[in-house]
Every structure is written in structure tokens, then in C-alpha cells.
Symmetry: C3
Subunit: 214 residues, 3 copies
Amino acid sequence: MTTPVSLGLVLDLAGTFAFALNGALTAVRVARLDIVGVIALGSITALGGGIVRDVLLDALPPATFLDWRYLLVAATGGLLAFALSRQLERLSSPITVFDALGLSLFAVTGAVKALDHGFGGGQAVLLGAITAVGGGTIRDVLVRRVPTVLQSELYAIPALAGALVVVVTAALEGPMLLGALLGAGLCLAIRLLGVGLRLDAPRPPGGGDAGREA
Amino acid sequence: MTTPVSLGLVLDLAGTFAFALNGALTAVRVARLDIVGVIALGSITALGGGIVRDVLLDALPPATFLDWRYLLVAATGGLLAFALSRQLERLSSPITVFDALGLSLFAVTGAVKALDHGFGGGQAVLLGAITAVGGGTIRDVLVRRVPTVLQSELYAIPALAGALVVVVTAALEGPMLLGALLGAGLCLAIRLLGVGLRLDAPRPPGGGDAGREA
Amino acid sequence: MTTPVSLGLVLDLAGTFAFALNGALTAVRVARLDIVGVIALGSITALGGGIVRDVLLDALPPATFLDWRYLLVAATGGLLAFALSRQLERLSSPITVFDALGLSLFAVTGAVKALDHGFGGGQAVLLGAITAVGGGTIRDVLVRRVPTVLQSELYAIPALAGALVVVVTAALEGPMLLGALLGAGLCLAIRLLGVGLRLDAPRPPGGGDAGREA
């Protein structure tokens, strides 16, 4: 199976940028962190998923650390968010939208990288999802929130769906460019729809929302 | 030193299942998380210790990711806990008992795996303990609790004891089956006894329980 | 580029010891943890940065796990802090000073190790900073604090500065002993000056300190 290498890198860097914006805005929103804190959280959010992915794939040192472009994109996203924070923070959606974009792009690139490393379809789907939710989970832990992946609003499910589209496309030997865009698009759609409609996956029998964080 | 490979896998999967139940029930108990959150936390708790172990042993990609049985057992445990949550959550002990079972089994399998990889006895004891407490520590961090391993009630000590039994058995070239069961049993006994009697290890001079979480 | 190997190990162990004291005192200060919790947190703080560094460098298994001296130094530091906790905890600075010492030493040894592994200057600076802040960040997460690296008081900047001095010295083929001591000294000076004068890096436009933790 041949994957468009340059497309894979572009999508990965785009996802990195999206998560950098998201992480940096989170740093600004959560507390008035200084420029170092904002860039640090943006970078950790942007690079975290890729690092977890590369550890699981035994693809060390991680690409996000070896390739200067990842670090540059992450830092740039952080700086940009810092500079535009006042304008952006009046709106609540940018944080969520950037996170959804990063989620979608990483679900696809994570699955592609797993397939490229010879892993089976099921593991590639799982790894795509892990790459997608990894950075955001580390971000949430650092700012002392229960990670989004553990809460509702469909976070892991769209990531799994996006990765699945990629894996199915590869299995059918279809055009990977289309598979990647379809997968990312599907993930983005499910995620944003879920947020917009406040859809939840089934909850345990017994009802009640005691203690749930929105 | 020859270890019963099939026994090692069975114990490792059993520990995985125990931690999956524990993690999933924690997700239900802490907040009414949806099915995805419950299975996610159950899986992270179940697989976390093994992943940390494999990174330290440089046994990548981690077995818990390569071998489908681990993922299946983890997800099954999570689903089961989700379905039976209402019945189980009236009791406070299942969470603690499953955690103690996972702790005991992983203390043993972690030590065995370290010995199999050629590490010395001391490192194997340490690695067994790390494997045992690893998943639960990640679980606690994700739900914003100070990890059990840092609090009292004898958590790391029983894990170290169980791993030590395994290492001593190997050093004496005794039967590993017996060493494994003895070690797990010892760890389980110390842990549950400590919980039951609320025994603590020595505290720093100066007294007072200010700020301690039960 | 030849580095004084024995000096590198001495500095690394010294940094490990400093962070062990810092982590253990944090465990005593945050809550009256028992001796196991104090040694555990001291060890995690002391060894965490080195483990993250070795994963990123693909130098597994991590030196901090392979070499008994690291584990011995970490445990010793933890025990010492536990025993002297009452005397030490009346003062607020020891925790900060030990952390600054660990930060400075690890910034230097992390950069040196990256260069030894053939990484470029920029990556070595980054890795020095990551090694320096890594242990403290894990410590903060475990005791449920927003990590110091994300807050002000100049934490990442001095680490980057110290690592930069090392990298520049190596690039100029200067004496590494001097570069290491200068780098550690610079980092220590900036960090302690920042704490003393409560200097902050620039904050995002919009003013206000809402929600900031000192």
C-alpha cells in the first residue's frame, strides 16, 4: 500500500498546528499564563499525541522531536495564539474547533503511520485514535481537568471512525488521499455535531448526572 | 531460569482484567461517564502498567498493544463493569479488591518479565512494583486524585514484597509456578490487610494528618 | 567533541539527589504522606526527567533504571528529606532551591547527552530543557498542581539558557567542564533571581491575574 508521503506530512503538520493553537488558547483561557507557559502548553498539546504514537510503534526518537518542522509549527501556533488571545478568547468555539481539527487530522495520520509500520488494521485504528486524543489528554491533565476523552460529547468515537475509514481504504487498496480526507472529514463532522447537539454515548444504567463536568 | 510462559500470560491477562474492572468502576463511581469514558479508563488502567514496564525494559512495541488478547480482555472488563455498574456500585470494596488483584498479579508478572529480559534481581523487584502500581497511578491522575501509591494503606510495599518472592524463587531456582502464586498471594494479603486494618507505614516526625486524603 | 564522562555522571547524580530532596519535601509539605509516599515522590521527581530524556533519545532502557547509582541516590535523598522534614519544613526555600539545583544540573547533562547521541545543537538545547523540567512536571501532576513550567517565575527559560551555554561551548570546541559549570550557574542564577524578584515573562495582552496560581 503506497501512501502519499508528502500529504501525510502536510496533514500531520496541520494537525500539529491546530493542537498548538488549541493548547495555547487553553493556557490563556485557564489562567493568565505567561508567554512561556502558553507556548509550552501549546507545544505539549501539539506534539504529545505524536510522541505517544511513536513510543507505541517503537519509532524512536519521535518524529516530532527529530524533524524541526514539527517544533517550528508547534511554537508558531503557540505564539500566534498568544498574540491574538484577546480577540480569540471572546469566542468559546475556537478552542473546540482547533481541538476537533487536530483530532481529525491525527486520527488519520496516526492510522497511516501504523499501517506503514506494518501493523494490522485493528491496531492501526486504535493507534489513530490514541494519536488523536493523546495530546489533548496530556493538556487536560496538566491544567487539572478530567480529560475530554473520558467525558462525553463523542471524542474517542469520531477519532476511531476517522481512523477506520483510512484502514478500510487501505484494505480496499483505494486512493489514500481520498481515504485520508474522508476520514478526517467524518471525524470532524461527528465531533462537531456531537458538541453542537450535546450528544452523548450511552451512560451506565442508574441515571443521574452527579458530578459530570460539561 | 525457565518460567512457565503460558502461566505468565494467564496471570498477566488476569491482572489486566482485574484492573479493567477497577478502572471502569472508578469511571462510573467518580462521575457518570458514558460508555466510552468507562471503557477508556478501564483500558488505560489495565494496560498502563504493562506499557510503562515495556518502555523501561525497552521491549517495544509494548505487548499490551501488540497482542490482541490484552486489548480484548481490557475492553471486555470495561464493558462488563459498565453493564453491572449499578449492582456493583452499592459496594465499596469491589474497586479496592480488583485493584489489589491487579496489583498482585502485575507485581509478579512484571518481575518475571524483567528477569526474562536479563535484568538483575533488584531491578526486577523494582520493575514488578512499577508494573503493579503504574496503571492505577495513571488512572488516579486522570480522575484528579493523588495516586494511591503516594498515600498510605500499604500500596507499594506489598507490590515490592510480591516481586521479591518471585526474584528469590528464581535465585534459588525454585518452581516458578509456586513462586508466582506465593508472591501474588503475599502481595494480596498485605494489601487487603492494610486496607482492612487501615495500617500505615511510618509517617514523618511531627505528627498530624493535615491534608491527608483517605 | 569530548565530554568529561565522569563529570557528566557526577552532575547527573547531583541533579538526581537535588530533585529527590525536592520531591520528598514536596510530599511531606503537600500532605503528611508516609515514608513510602515520600520516597516514591522523591524518586519519581529525581528520575522522571532522565527517563523522558532517554525515551526521546531512544536510549532505552533508561540510564536511571539501569545504573544502580541513580536509584540509590534517589532513595537516599528521599530518606534524608523524610528524616529531616520537621527541621526543613519550617523554611519555604529548600524546596525551591533544591528544585533550582536539579533544574540547572539536568539542563546541562540533558544537553550533553543529546550531543553525545549525535543530535544537533537546537535539539540538544530543547532536550536539556525537557530533562530539566520533566521530573518537576511529573511531580506537580501527581500532587495535583498546575506544573511550575506552565506558570511564571522563569522556569523553562533558565533551563533553555543553561542548555544553550553547553551547546555553544561544544560548538566552539571549548572546555566542556567550564561550559557545564557556566551553564548550570547561569540557569541557577536566572531561576533564583526570578523567584526572588518575582519576575515574570510577558503575559498575553488583556491584563489581569484572574486565576493565576503563585
